[in-house]
């Protein structure tokens, strides 16, 4: 499960107010390099909850990967930024697309219900009494 996926997942458990963001605990995660596509990130960025993304990178033990506030778009998509090591766009790309959580869990902030992540796949199925 990539952090891009995590950023879009919410808990639907009965009694949850927003069920978002899910708290990530990862017992096993890795990184896999993926080609950076600036247009793709440009299309995605408006849909990303920055706070949730940053909190999750910190939960994984990467406190310095992303700043607390989202940098301005001009800075992220500045010409040539993709080629600069450590640039905002490269960090965002790395956080969203290159981190893969293989085993772990996602916890609903309102109800504490835990959803397992197994072999990289989150199982968001609710039990009958949680609907």
């Amino acid at each position: 499960m990539r952090l891009l996926t995590h950023n879009m997942l919410a808990s639907n458990v009965r009694g949850a107010t927003t069920g978002y963001p899910l708290k990530l605990e990862a017992s096993n995660w890795c990184t896999k390099e993926v080609e950076l596509n600036a247009d793709f990130i440009r299309g995605l960025l408006p849909k990303i909850d920055w706070r949730a993304l940053v909190a999750t990178t910190r939960a994984l033990g990467l406190p310095d990967l992303l700043p607390d506030e989202q940098p301005p778009e001009e800075e992220i998509f500045a010409k040539g930024a993709a080629d600069v090591e450590g640039s905002a766009i490269r960090r965002i790309h790395h956080a969203l697309l290159e981190i893969h959580v293989q085993q772990g869990s996602l916890t609903c902030p309102d109800t504490n219900r835990s959803f397992p992540i197994d072999k990289g796949i989150p199982n968001m199925m609710l039990h009958e009494d949680e609907v």
């Binding site: 996926t5 968001m124 609907v131």
Partner: protein, 342 residues
């Protein structure tokens, strides 16, 4: 052996009377009563029905078991092909027809193609092994999430995405379409290709689709329905109900509804630009082709190595053809837009 097996699985359930409502709790495990949703003229508000016990597990188990075999013979699209009326089609044509089905659906819904307005985020509801997810992600350069009840399918689909260099754009997870694990308004395009048949509560299903659609976003539902009821009818005829029931049991389908039922639900949710069409004629070559593929050496040996659920599914395929021929089963597309600025 097949005949004896059919008897063993034939459920001992009498048809529900047309005047009484069977309470959901009295349903036997895995067997569902068959009342089509009331038509709009009857103006009945159905109480939300809990999924029949065992339905979700049945669906997950069915696809866990049969998905590999289907993929082996048909490839990664688990939906009908779209054919010109009266077209005769060979096996090679079928894969092409499955792609055409996706394109025809997008065209029908007028999903924009240009870089500004094309969908950036897509959800594939009932994604199977992600055939549509990967196709749409590729076509639009978009982020596509897929949800399926089957862990086997999710794993296989993610592996296929990785193999095709799409793992940044496509990810499948295990989730319930009636409780989608997404916050409101996430997706520009909400795609349900032949998964609606499995949803036990059509209203909840469409409500969830609408909930996760972004303002101005598009919803596309392609699904099997039963024919619209005449104004004078409150239900299908007994022989029609009987036929659907046998199909339902084998494919883990809950009650069917009509295309009008979907349109009415969309209207009640204030969705806009609602369009629907009957594509039954355009899918006519499909089931005969599936049966033919099952009867090939590859098909038969695959069936032998899967399991009973798959074999049972295979055995009711002629009933699908019967259903279409009688005008009972319809292949329908319903599309609409969520109000608001795109």
């Amino acid at each position: 052996m097949a005949h004896a097996a059919l008897l063993h699985w034939s459920p001992l359930l009498s048809l529900p009377s047309s005047t009484s409502r069977r309470p959901a709790r009295s349903r036997r495990r895995g067997v569902v009563s068959l009342r089509p949703m009331a038509s709009s003229t009857a103006q009945q508000q159905q109480a939300p029905a809990p999924a029949p016990p065992g339905l979700k597990e049945g669906i997950a188990g069915f696809y866990d078991e049969s998905s590999g075999m289907w993929e082996n013979i048909w490839g990664d699209h688990m939906h009908h092909g779209f054919y010109d009326s009266g077209e005769a089609a060979s096996m090679a044509d079928h894969r092409r027809a499955q792609i055409r089905m996706i394109e025809e659906a997008l065209a029908f819904a007028a999903v924009p193609d240009d870089p500004e307005k094309k969908p950036k985020t897509i959800v594939d509801v009932g994604c199977g092994i992600g055939g549509s997810s990967r196709y749409l992600a590729n076509k639009y350069g978009a982020q596509c999430k897929g949800i399926t009840l089957s862990p086997v399918q999710a794993e296989r689909g993610n592996a296929l995405a990785a193999a095709q260099g799409l793992s940044d754009k496509v990810s499948l997870q295990v989730a319930d379409a009636l409780e989608q694990p997404f916050a409101d308004g996430q997706f520009d395009l909400v795609w349900s290709m032949e998964s609606g048949e499995h949803m036990p509560d059509k209203r909840k299903f469409v409500t969830e689709l609408a909930r996760v659609t972004a303002p101005g976003g598009t919803i596309i539902i392609v699904t099997w329905c039963h024919r619209n009821l005449e104004p004078s009818e409150t239900s299908l005829k007994p022989d029609e109900l009987n036929l659907l029931k046998r199909i339902c049991d084998a494919f883990y389908l809950p009650d069917w509804c009509s295309p009008s039922d979907y349109v009415n639900i969309a209207q009640s949710l204030s969705l806009e630009d609602i369009k629907t069409a009957d594509w039954s004629e355009n899918v006519a070559p499909f089931w005969p082709a599936v049966i033919k593929s099952a009867l090939t050496w590859k098909g038969l040996t695959s069936l032998l190595t899967t399991g009973w659920k798959t074999v049972r599914g295979a055995m009711v395929m002629p009933l699908m053809i019967q259903g279409y021929r009688k005008g009972l089963i319809k292949f329908a597309i319903i599309t609409c837009r969520k109000p608001g600025a795109a």
